[in-house]
């Protein structure tokens, strides 16, 4: 019984942190977009414009929820949820502290689901999210939406294989698919984490994660200049808002996964700093990765369709295979 209570508390806290971060992430995205262009970004709502996202959300909620007459109704209405829900499920896999912590005399694991095949689960969930984009674009029955979802599908095929393969080297080193074990394998200082021995895999995974998130420079499915808003063109009000929010929730989750797999998860960068609780390190790492993602988005221009496929098939896939073979040889020799 007490375990169930702790589970609910952890789930609620995770949900609150994950969702609560989103309005501020959107605010920071806009603020930083301004800073990178020597503008000041939103300044009016609240001190320094912090309340801008809440104003936008109120606006979105008050807007008409329109389903075009030519759209495929049920799928059109379902698609945002397909994109919105998987990141929340993936959140449960992320460990945010050591196992068996003593809280009020009870042993509590600082993870919601200590799942043996956690990494496979994450890959599966992130693939499901693409269906939200593809189905949303297809059911809108609009040429821009269709082109956007078509691009999304082609993009997924090109990066997902390299993304999965880049992880295998890391899995060999950790000897486990469970995210809890992977973090435990990275005990020590920051040079003991997997990003250094797995630099190639880390780079491939990071770039693929940007494509996974549909963010610049791989935001082909929603390329504003060419496709209006891509797969979101026909969406209005809070359904559009769900796409937008889902994007930022998955940004939090993917950043947390990157931090967990390659940057030591909740572990402190130096062992002497271990007295600071794990979730603070995790949130710090997540925010740092998100800042890097924003920096890249507002710097690098969008890749062309065929360039992304070239990167995926001709560069990352062979590199990931070489990385896999090299890691396997080194691990079996040592």
């Amino acid at each position: 019984m007490i375990e169930f209570v702790f589970l609910v508390v952890k789930a609620v806290l995770f949900l609150a942190v994950g969702v609560g971060m989103v309005p501020f992430l959107i605010y920071f995205e806009r603020k930083f977009a301004g800073f990178f262009q020597t503008r000041v970004g939103p300044t009016y709502a609240g001190p320094g414009g912090v309340l801008q996202s809440f104003g936008d959300m109120a606006k979105l909620l008050s807007k008409e929820d329109l389903t075009p007459a030519w759209a495929d109704g049920p799928i059109f209405r379902l698609a945002p949820y397909i994109l919105f829900v998987p990141p929340f499920i993936a959140m449960t896999l992320i460990p945010f502290g050591p196992m068996g912590v003593d809280i009020f005399g009870y042993k509590v694991d600082m993870v919601i689901a200590n799942f043996d095949a956690g990494l496979i689960m994450f890959l599966a969930l992130s693939s499901i999210a693409v269906y939200g984009v593809v189905l949303g674009g297809w059911s809108s029955n609009n040429r821009w939406s269709l082109l956007g979802s078509l691009r999304s599908g082609a993009q997924m095929i090109s990066y997902e294989i390299a993304m999965g393969l880049s992880l295998v080297g890391m899995i060999i080193m950790a000897g486990s698919l469970s995210l809890v074990d992977i973090v435990n394998q990275q005990a020590g200082n920051f040079w003991d984490w997997f990003w250094l021995p797995q630099l190639v895999g880390f780079t491939i995974f990071f770039v693929s994660a940007i494509a996974e998130l549909n963010r610049g420079p791989f935001d082909l499915p929603e390329a504003e200049q060419e496709l209006v808003a891509g797969y979101m063109t026909e969406y209005t009000g809070m359904r559009w808002g769900m796409y937008m929010m889902g994007e930022y929730v998955s940004m939090v989750v993917v950043s947390a996964i990157i931090a967990t797999l390659y940057l030591g998860g909740w572990r402190a960068p130096l062992e002497v700093l271990g007295f600071i609780p794990g979730f603070i390190w995790l949130i710090g790492k997540v925010l740092a990765i998100i800042f890097l993602l924003m920096w890249i988005r507002w710097t690098v221009p969008r890749y062309r369709y065929n360039q992304l496929m070239d990167i995926g098939w001709k560069v990352f896939l062979p590199l990931a295979l070489v990385n896999l073979v090299a890691t396997a040889v080194i691990v079996s020799v040592i």
Partner: protein, 154 residues
């Protein structure tokens, strides 16, 4: 692709260069002027809303009613009516300027032999009422307070 190019791509040289450029802008001071809160000071020769100058000592209007400005105006927005005054000189009864038609070319200011009509740096001319665009003699005289200090009191 040469070896040098491959190494450059593998180490993300181009992207890191780009990131350093945007990183510099990130910390540099911002160029935004938050308009209603802070306003730019316009140049002294800026051509904004017109004004009619009057003699600061006697308060008499400088305009003689010679119609040169009304004649040269390309958009024909100036309308002047004159009559014979008590002292036998021409007096301006009526000086109307339709801002809705004005193109702010500044010809009226240049052609005026008495420098009576001038252009001021007033640029916030948006209004909800079209009648506000019809500038009467009184409005134009009142606007001379906004004129550049070197034009005033001449």
């Amino acid at each position: 692709m040469g070896l040098k190019k491959i190494i450059e791509k593998a180490t993300f040289v181009d992207i890191i260069k780009g990131l350093s450029v945007t990183g510099k802008y990130f910390v540099s001071s911002k160029v935004t002027v938050e308009y209603p809160k802070e306003k730019l000071v316009v140049r002294p020769r800026y051509r904004g809303m017109h004004a009619l100058l009057s003699n600061p000592e006697t308060g008499e209007i400088n305009c003689d009613g010679c119609q040169l400005c009304a004649t040269i105006c390309p958009s024909e927005c100036i309308d002047i009516q004159t009559s014979e005054g008590t002292d036998g000189r021409k007096q301006v009864d009526y000086f109307n300027l339709d801002l809705g038609r004005c193109v702010f070319c500044g010809f009226c200011e240049e052609v005026c032999p008495r420098a009576a009509i001038i252009m001021t740096p007033v640029y916030e001319l948006a209004t909800y009422d079209k009648d506000d665009f019809a500038l009467t003699k009184e409005k134009l005289l009142a606007n001379q307070d906004n004129a550049h200090k070197e034009l005033r009191g001449r």
